[in-house]
């Protein structure tokens, strides 16, 4: 059920800038792994390469030992690696229910509808099923994107800043859902997030990137005390002090 993700020597440059410059890391099956780093560290580019939206120029991406770095996004999604986007990709002119049902194939329509109703109820959107998704608030769109991704039956889910633009009240709920995905559904999670409190609280492991490379990889406690991490985040201030 849970999937393992291995990334080795990933390179992706834009013009002369190597946004990802040899990133290497593993995501353990059934874990919540946080991917953090200062702006421009290459986190989003890693996400885009792993999910097939960008072609890596070098390096391997393995999903349960199978190479996926040359597959198109829809094949990767069907292989069990599903991503969300930083800004919700709500399909505004479709109903909330139709949004959730997009990943469904015809053969599984009936059971998918049952599952969709469950998930909508879980995140409190069950009253909005027939509404057009464009009418939802920013926070509701985040939740919609999350459950829609779950309908694609991921074994590993990549969340790009799930907390961005979510109100404090909803954050607690979202954290609860994310922990439940790991504990109850056995889904591996890789999460890019700027909210460090959230990352440290939720993650089993934290990967820190800077300048396109992984500079630290360990438990939240390890990473918090890592000199290189402090340098990356606070470099300018420490140098000035």
């Amino acid at each position: 059920m849970s999937a393992r993700l291995e990334v080795a020597g990933l390179v992706r440059a834009f013009g002369g800038v190597r946004a990802v410059d040899g990133a290497t890391f593993d995501v353990q099956p059934g874990s919540i792994t946080g991917l953090i780093g200062p702006n421009g560290a290459g986190k989003s580019t890693v996400f885009n390469c792993v999910s097939g939206f960008l072609r890596a120029q070098a390096g391997d991406v393995l999903l349960d030992g199978r190479r996926i770095e040359k597959l198109p996004p829809h094949r990767i999604a069907r292989a069990g690696l599903v991503r969300t986007f930083q800004t919700p990709r709500t399909l505004s002119r479709m109903t909330v229910l139709d949004n959730v049902l997009v990943p469904t194939t015809r053969a599984r329509e009936r059971e998918a509808r049952v599952r969709a109703d469950e998930l909508l109820a879980l995140v409190g959107l069950d009253a909005y099923g027939a509404e057009l998704a464009g009418t939802l608030s920013g926070g509701q769109r985040k939740l919609l994107d999350l459950i829609r991704a779950l309908m694609a039956e991921p074994r590993i889910l990549l969340l790009d800043e799930p907390m961005a633009g979510v109100s404090p009240g909803l954050r607690v709920e979202l954290l609860r859902h994310i922990l439940q995905l790991r504990d109850r559904d056995g889904i591996t999670l890789l999460i890019v997030e700027h909210d460090l409190d959230f990352v440290m609280a939720a993650s089993d492991r934290v990967i820190v990137m800077n300048n396109g490379r992984v500079i630290a990889d360990g438990t939240p406690a390890d990473v918090r005390s890592d000199e290189r991490v402090l340098d990356a985040y606070l470099g300018a201030r420490r140098a000035a002090a």
Partner: protein, 321 residues
């Protein structure tokens, strides 16, 4: 004004509306549901019509074999166009389609040995012999006419065209109610989101291109049979934009809005022919023909201003932006 009361005249208007329904149904599937801007729809109509006529006249094929081949070749042309271009951004794809449609028309105009050139299908056969591709069709139409006990060919044609159109509409309507239709609409809304959920965006685009082109090919067959003769000039880009007007009039994203749009468009287009009362009778008939286009243009502008969702569309789902 006597023509206004003539059943034959309105049957003719209805036949043309049925042909436009088939043509515009492709645009609805491609743009209204999938978001693909195809401005070259008329090219596939031309390909369907020419394929059938050429196979009948030059290869002496039965109409009943040549006609389905016309539809197949039109669909295949849609695939051929889509393979290199469907990955393009929407606006670039639109440019490719309109260029493709003009290329088809120019080839038909200049490849005399294949298409009869600018003289049209009459020059398909041997020099000095007026070629006919519709002998078998005429006999079939006469049988339908006798069977229906109707007095005019056009009424028989009306029944045939609309029977085919209703079957096509029903099939498309049933298809877009499934998960396939949901996938199309997800692509219209956001290709990346669709791909991230496991939908093969390119494959779906190619599917609607092939189906829409085949429908245009079918429209081309009926066009060819209805008019007994055609030339490259019949496939001007204007026809593509008529199909677009019909889809906009009826309402984007709704399958059954297409026949409604086609009927209203056909009525307006034919009805405005009779604008020869004072002071419009000061204009000659050619000027009045252009006046029709102005009237239809004004109707479209009024519609976009006051009812941008079209006659049957949902305002919050699909409007022209």
């Amino acid at each position: 004004m006597s023509a206004l009361a003539s059943g034959d005249f309105w049957a003719f208007v209805g036949v043309v509306a049925g042909i436009y329904t088939l043509l515009a149904l492709g645009v609805q599937l491609q743009f209204g549901l999938t978001g693909l801007l195809n401005f070259g729809q008329v090219a596939f109509m031309a390909i369907g019509a020419y394929t059938m006529a050429i196979l009948v006249v030059k290869e002496h094929l039965s109409t009943w074999l040549a006609a389905p081949l016309g539809v197949v070749v039109a669909g295949a042309a849609g695939l051929l166009l889509g393979l290199p271009s469907a990955r393009l951004r929407a606006d670039y794809f639109a440019i490719v389609t309109i260029a493709f449609s003009e290329i088809v028309r120019y080839v038909a105009t200049n490849q005399d040995s294949l298409t009869g050139g600018s003289q049209g299908t009459i020059a398909l056969g041997k020099v000095g012999v007026a070629a006919q591709y519709n002998g078998q069709w005429e006999r079939f139409q006469a049988r339908v006419q006798a069977w229906l006990h109707v007095g005019s060919k056009d009424v028989a044609m009306l029944v045939i065209v609309w029977s085919v159109a209703i079957v096509a509409l029903t099939l498309v309507w049933l298809a877009v109610r499934t998960s396939w239709g949901r996938a199309l609409r997800s692509i219209r809304e956001d290709e990346d989101a669709a791909a991230s959920l496991g939908k093969n965006v390119l494959a779906h685009k190619l599917q609607v291109l092939v189906i829409g082109s085949a429908l245009a090919g079918l429209a081309g067959l009926f066009y060819a049979w209805q008019f007994s003769f055609f030339s490259p000039d019949d496939f001007q880009p204007l026809l593509t934009f008529f199909a677009w007007m019909i889809v906009i009039l009826g309402g984007l994203g709704r399958v059954w809005a297409v026949p409604v749009g086609a009927a209203v468009f056909g009525f307006l287009f034919a009805g405005t022919r009779f604008l020869d009362f004072s002071p419009l009778s000061e204009l000659d008939s050619a000027q009045r023909a252009y006046l029709r286009l102005i009237v239809i243009g004004l109707v479209i502008i009024g519609l976009v201003v006051f009812r941008p969702q079209g006659l049957l569309g949902r305002r919050d789902e699909m409007v022209l932006e």
